[in-house]
Symmetry: C2
Subunit: 378 residues, 2 copies
């Protein structure tokens, strides 16, 4: 039996795995001797391999960015609003690659993988990854796929940071870069929220110092709290107001600590669901990669100097109610690009949904992205 | 040996305890049959008892608002910047009363107290308190002290909510009300942050369903997390940037989960200190009192109708960088007061320290408060 997908869907997709045996030297001075990267592709690579777009994922993302995994699958990939025939990242023109980053928990080598050197699960011994490390691994995947130069590297939030790092580390290999809802580095407040999430996991007795796999358990409580605090920062105050207001679950107060307000049960439910599928060590590692990201650091603390190396056209997009990475943070990137005379377009999209907007079908946002990519020659 | 205190200090102060035996009916439909309120006073009550000011405390506050408890005591009361001879709440003119609210953990009857009816510690069986209940109990303390009408009721944050409730519930007993850094009710985002803090405590295995006293332990991890997340909301992004930036503890990265950034060690340290002296059941109860606060609810969801009963002059103060209770929230109160033709002054103070500003010596803030109180006739 077959299922008919919408005309603008990439339809059924099958994840693939690339195995690498050339050791990968990491920023933390350790080396991954061999590793897998799981990825998906949408569209067709053209004869000159000039139409490839890399999509980088955010904190809790993965390689499944568009389409469906089976005829019964009701949940499309995480960026299905942007990727497909006729969508902003138009798979009739582009060959799109989306991967799960190293350290992830969706198939690429990560803390829950077996360490070939010990025959045991890595757990907390998995090396710390940085955005720079991820980009390096992504470049190897590009080599494997025969892509010398990306038509574009695109990402939102932590994904945008990878796109920015690409422009700096591999200037000859990127023609266009799209940075959505991101920042040139975290603020102290951003780090503080990450730290609360990490402490929630680290202090959960079921974390067992990262060796919870051996105890047939996982830090459920810690992951729930980590997701709850993260979730608050993804939504704007206005979005929360529109979504929940102060609505009560039952219409009257119970004077207790069970969920009284809709927003409480929503956060608990989302946290609970997240805890069942996300690896705690991966969550720790991804938040740390966010904290460490600071491309200016390698260039005398000057973002301008860091970006002076770039050779691509930039599109920077921010959302008016995003308070995790506010428009002011995107404008820091734009200012550094302008100061170094790089071609950059900037769009500040009026959207009420906060940081989450980058995942949502906000019409003007999709229109800006589509218009920019239509001008990309392949 | 004696210690000389600064001329503008109230000097040595001694907490007092008032015991009440008349049952207190609570909003949750339960009754406290007998209870203690611990309080301090500064200055002298005049012959007509017309110079009394009530100071209401916020989430983690208590009765020790000014002065010192001993000659060796180096830490003044929590609002010592505002209370003393020549300070905005001038103890040469006013008789100031500060108490620990019911449900607290600093001497007034609360979850860690013995329930006279069972001979056991209340623990989680302590009734849920609301701002309305606190104000009712404060009115009894006023009766006990012979204060028929307060010259002013003053508070910041949750303390401001008590002051607002006084103006509504006891219009004949308040001449002036000062509402600092507060809101007419919590937003969904405010409730969400409280919920994260509560879940951190409730899900800590050492919480033992609130009966941790019986297990000779306390939910240390939960309290640390609760305080950390709270602390982030008390500081502005700018204040954090000024205080910590992205400064590293050691100057270079360690690529691990120990504290790398100053802000991490600061939050951990503050959380750890808090966990040692604050009762977990009290923290739960106080955050719930915040959630429940909504004086308009009893008046057809109209703040104007609720405030129509008030008979006092109002001063409302907000701080520019406060994102927990932003100036917009204070302006909601001001708008309702203006709409009902109440005398109100409003000051929006430009201060970088966020919500915490109300505890700090911000010159213009202290000047506005002093000027308002100088006009109070006693």
């Amino acid at each position: 039996m077959t299922r008919s997908f919408a005309a603008d869907s990439v339809g059924l997709v099958v994840p693939q795995t690339a195995h690498f045996v050339e050791p990968l030297a990491l920023e933390c001075q350790r080396v991954l001797s061999a590793y897998d990267l799981v990825y998906e592709t949408y569209g067709e690579l053209n004869a000159t391999a000039s139409n490839a777009i890399l999509v980088c994922h955010a904190l809790s993302g993965h390689h499944h960015a568009a389409g469906f995994h089976s005829a019964e699958d009701n949940k499309a990939g995480w960026w299905d609003v942007c990727i497909g025939p006729g969508k902003p990242i138009d798979t009739r023109r582009f060959f799109v690659v989306a991967l799960n980053n190293l350290g992830g928990c969706h198939g690429s080598t990560g803390p829950a993988s077996f360490n070939p050197e010990t025959g045991q699960v890595y757990g907390p011994s998995f090396p710390m990854m940085t955005v720079k490390d991820w980009v390096k691994a992504q470049a190897r995947l590009a080599d494997r796929l025969g892509i010398a130069r990306w038509a574009a590297v695109i990402g939102g939030s932590l994904g945008g940071m990878q796109a920015l790092q690409w422009a700096i580390d591999f200037p000859e290999r990127v023609a266009h870069t799209v940075l959505i809802a991101c920042a040139p580095k975290l603020s102290a407040q951003n780090i503080a929220f990450n730290e609360v999430a990490r402490q929630a996991i680290l202090s959960d007795p079921d974390f067992h110092a990262g060796r919870f796999y051996d105890h047939d358990t996982y830090p459920r409580r810690g992951l729930i709290l980590a997701r709850m605090v993260g979730h608050i920062t993804y939504l704007s105050d206005d979005a929360m107001k529109a979504k929940f207001g102060r609505d009560l679950k039952s219409g009257h107060f119970h004077y207790g600590f069970d969920a009284e307000f809709q927003v409480e049960s929503y956060l608990r439910y989302q946290g609970e669901a997240f805890s069942r599928y996300f690896d705690a060590n991966t969550y720790l590692l991804m938040t740390r990669a966010l904290d460490y990201f600071d491309p200016a650091r390698d260039h005398g603390d000057s973002l301008e100097q860091a970006l002076a190396r770039a050779r691509c056209r930039f599109l920077v997009i921010a959302f008016s109610t995003d308070w995790r990475f506010s428009p002011a943070r995107s404008r820091e990137i734009v200012a550094a690009l302008v100061a170094t005379d790089k071609p950059v377009s900037y769009a500040e999209i009026d959207a009420p949904q906060g940081h989450d907007s980058f995942l949502l079908p906000v019409p003007r946002y999709l229109a800006v992205l589509a218009a920019f990519l239509q001008r990309v020659e392949v």
